[in-house]
Symmetry: C2
Subunit: 202 residues, 2 copies
């Protein structure tokens, strides 16, 4: 056991599942920021929360999803997201990216996207874990499946477009994008993402 | 814009040009946020700074440039920027956008971009003035010259890509984009901006 007993909330008896969940989310946020995505083990997070490591799988189905919920505040399992992005014709991955990110972020009126950007701008370490996750775990896995060259550059270019879409739609709320139907966004933005994913990028 | 100028700056005798400039910048930031870009008159800003309205033209060449310096923290006159973006073949506007924004933001190591995003996320009114300026004054004027349809949507789409590039290069600093040569960015990103400006967007 390491010195995980810094604050009292980590020791008390858990009344029920919601307590355990909340404790794991709080602990995960701390440990991911301290150690990065790779360095933060399920064991360390569970210890920090004062619960058994099996609770991570029980409540979150694994480290990735806990990360997504705690740090990225995505209301969806990243494994499910990767599967959804890859499920269909290769030339429509760009379209599926737009549809899925808009659906996820629209579901909270942009609140989760805004919270994510706020935590990124406030804490350098959040940017670090975001990079590791968003580029390496999510977009890179999509690009490995697509078997294209320069995967890291392509993934990062996609990140520019996805973040930029989020900023304009949810934070600065420029019209007509702020209230545009998802079909308008798909027609306008998906071909640009598709070029980043599978096109000639120079 | 340091604390010492907080109240006395509006009253005391001006020792020299730098004092006047600093007072105008501080006053402009307040008045633009309070009234928006259109509502903030040169007269009101000068009155708030306790200087003659002619000083705005003298030091900043007009309201647009004062806005760019005070709120957007652009180290370049927006009129000059619009001219630069339009100076050359139409099919290379996307390229000139990448070159000019990267040059402006790289000049401060991304510091000005980061400060801009921080003020946007902290104050809703800054988002409002940013929108009015960035879309209506800057990108829309470029698009009027290009004589394309759906100018507002095109301008806003460009904003997604420009902000997104800034976020990834300067704030979250994802590699390889964070330290990429401008030529890499031009080859990768300019065609996507060009499509937003003059291509088929659905």
């Amino acid at each position: 056991m390491t010195g995980e007993q810094a604050t009292p909330r980590r020791r008390g008896r858990r009344a029920g599942g919601e307590d355990t969940k909340a404790a794991l989310l709080a602990a995960a946020r701390e440990v991911f920021v301290e150690r990065g995505y790779e360095g933060a083990t399920v064991r360390a997070i569970a210890a920090r929360a004062g619960v058994d490591a099996a609770m991570v799988n029980h409540w979150f189905g694994g480290k990735e999803n806990l990360f997504a919920k705690a740090v990225l505040q995505l209301p969806v399992d990243p494994n499910v997201l990767v599967e959804r992005l890859l499920d269909g014709p290769v030339e429509e991955v760009g379209e599926r990216i737009v549809r899925n990110f808009v659906a996820v972020w629209d579901a909270t009126g942009g609140g989760q996207f805004t919270a994510l950007v706020r935590s990124v701008t406030a804490h350098d370490q959040v940017a670090e874990v975001l990079k590791e996750f968003f580029v390496k775990q999510l977009l890179r896995r999509v690009l490995v499946e697509l078997a294209v060259d320069r995967g890291e550059l392509r993934a990062t270019l996609c990140a520019t477009q996805i973040f930029g879409m989020g900023i304009v739609r949810y934070m600065v709320r420029f019209e007509p994008i702020a209230s545009a139907d998802v079909e308008v966004l798909v027609k306008a933005i998906a071909p640009n993402l598709q070029r980043y994913l599978t096109g000639d990028i120079g």
